[in-house]
């Protein structure tokens, strides 16, 4: 049975049919201990089937070393959302429930090559960046506030070559979540040191980035 019902499929198609650039969903799976790998693959295949502008590639984190290195992948399952270039958009785990919106947002902004919603002050801060920023957002699929936090990370990553955005479904990566003591979502972590809890306005994230550099 299809994962997406007809109504959702139509909506997805409408959102993705006119993307300026083709978007490649590059998935890395692993053979063991990955209960959702096949669902994720099925999901992105269904998403890609709604638009000629979206394609799917699937690799194995153990075997496809060349791609693993090219996309800088350290854990699976993950979807790299790649537009005209690799903006550094990654979704770790299953983009289900509310997080499906995050995936679609990632595809849209990667396809457009520009963020959906960044204010002028944030853009000018990003334009002045000269050091890498690793922007991680921890989410759960059932959290209504989480996509709001995640899409900001994707928007910033599309706007700046220095920002890489990882959205992580915390339930599937307990080790990483444990390392950061993720016990509430959304949680934003900047350069592994600065934490911002909740769906924060762009200015708070900018301040946390500054503090992390």
């Amino acid at each position: 049975m299809a994962l997406l019902n007809d109504q959702i499929r139509d909506q997805v198609s409408e959102m993705l049919v006119d993307l300026p650039n083709v978007v490649r969903l590059v998935m890395f799976k692993k053979a063991e201990d990955c209960p959702y790998c096949s669902i994720i693959e099925e999901l992105i295949t269904e998403v890609a089937s709604t638009s000629d502008r979206v394609t799917v590639e699937v690799y194995d984190i153990e075997h496809d070393k060349e791609q693993v290195a090219a996309y800088g992948i350290d854990k699976a399952p993950v979807i790299a959302i790649v537009g005209a270039k690799d903006y550094g958009l990654r979704f770790f785990g299953i983009p289900a429930n509310y997080e499906f919106s995050t995936l679609l947002h990632g595809i849209q902004v990667a396809g457009a090559g520009e963020p959906a919603q960044l204010d002028a002050a944030t853009k000018s801060f990003l334009a002045g960046l000269n050091k890498p920023v690793h922007y991680e957002v921890f989410v759960t699929p059932t959290c209504p506030y989480c996509p709001g936090a995640a899409v900001l990370a994707f928007d910033m990553a599309v706007h700046s070559d220095y920002v890489k955005a990882d959205v992580v479904e915390a339930g599937e990566f307990p080790d990483l979540a444990g390392r950061y003591n993720v016990m509430g979502v959304p949680l934003n972590v900047l350069n592994h040191t600065q934490r911002v809890e909740g769906r924060a306005p762009a200015q708070m994230i900018v301040d946390a980035i500054k503090a992390s550099l």
Binding site: L3, L4, I8, Q11, V12, M15, I39, L43, I94, A96, N97, Y98, F100, S101, T102, L104, H105, Q108, A116, Q117, T140, P141, T142, C143, P144, Y145, C146, P147, G148, V151, A170, G171, P174, A177, N181, V182, M183, G184, V185, L187, R195, E197, G198, R199
Partner: protein, 326 residues
């Protein structure tokens, strides 16, 4: 097992602006129901929410008593549907925009100020502000917020798989959300101030008969302890005074709700808990200003009641707007 939802909050449309017939503050069940009725009636409607749309009802795992869903429906799902229904009829929704002031200008003209210093004009305003979870105000609560202390089990419950969890408050919300946490956690301990639970019988039966649950009645939580994260709670037996320490990984707090109406002080009349007083038709006494749903004094906090309030207010709005015309 999985659902795939589309929520457009990341790419929300800018409001069309101009003079609105109706501005609604709060996109919970009350505000969205009013928006459905009003916009379907051709009333130019703008809905604000300081968070994402859905209100409190979107933070509950499962709603079993909303008519029309014999198996029950997830709170987020129900609210998602209400939002879509309102938008389908043309209601404009502005999420993550907090209303900070309502300024009466003249009959048929209220000005709505927001936290991002924007100003919107409307002929009429509905306050559908709802309420938010109360804090316990015990040591450790603030310090460990996001590090084991949470007010949303639907959001954070999945992070406590195989962990020991405490739920403070054994009322309807605490037990309802406790049932959800019982799906993930290794154990759930309920701590209740009163000697009994005031929750619906069906919720009491389901939680109390659960093999992973323990109940402490007549106990007051006094402290949340931790190092980097929560490690335990301290509670006091209210009868004997005995102090009990209980190790745990997470604390979910469900000790009631309180409205956020301070910005309306001096404008509308409130009861001592901050709930807005209205007449039987839900008017606040300020020209063009009504209050609906949980934020209204002495109202029953249920989705059906909020929905009914929203319906009645939208119909009153139609009449009020028509009168302004003549």
């Amino acid at each position: 097992m999985f659902e795939f939802k589309i929520d457009d909050s990341g790419q929300q449309q800018a409001p069309s602006g101009g003079l609105y017939d109706l501005a609604i503050v709060g996109a919970g069940p009350a505000g969205l129901s009013a928006a459905i009725y009003a916009s379907r009636d051709g009333i130019k409607t703008l809905v604000f929410d300081k968070s994402s749309a859905g209100g409190l009802a979107a933070t509950t795992d499962w709603i079993e008593n909303y008519p029309g869903f014999p198996e029950g429906i997830s709170g987020p799902d129900l609210m998602d549907r209400m939002q879509k229904q309102a938008e389908r009829f043309g209601a404009e929704l502005l999420e993550f925009e907090e209303v900070t002031q309502i300024e009466p200008v003249s009959k048929g003209h209220l000005r709505v100020h927001t936290a991002s210093a924007e100003v919107f004009d409307a002929k009429m305003v509905l306050l559908a502000l709802g309420s938010h979870p109360k804090k316990l105000n015990v040591p450790g609560e603030e310090e460990y917020y996001g590090r084991g202390v949470s007010y949303c089990a639907t959001c954070d419950g999945p992070l406590f798989r195989d962990k020991d969890v405490v739920i403070v408050g054994a009322g309807n919300s605490g037990l309802q959300e406790g049932l959800n946490v019982l799906n993930y956690a290794r154990s759930v301990t309920f701590i209740e101030f009163l000697p009994y639970s005031i929750a619906e019988k069906i919720l009491q039966e389901r939680t109390m008969n659960h093999p992973k649950s323990t109940f402490y009645f007549n106990h007051m939580l006094t402290e949340i302890k931790g190092d980097a994260v929560v490690t335990g709670v301290v509670m006091k037996n209210r009868e004997t005074g005995a102090v009990v320490e209980l190790p745990c990984d997470g604390v979910f707090i469900y000790v009631g709700y309180t409205p956020d109406t301070r910005f309306l002080e001096g404008l509308v009349e409130m009861n001592k808990w901050g709930y807005i007083k209205t007449d039987a038709q839900m008017w606040t006494g300020v020209e063009g200003l009504m209050a609906i749903g949980d934020v209204r004094a002495s109202n029953l906090a249920q989705v059906t009641v909020a929905v009914a309030d929203g319906t009645k207010a939208a119909i009153a709005a139609r009449e009020y707007l028509a009168e302004l015309e003549v």
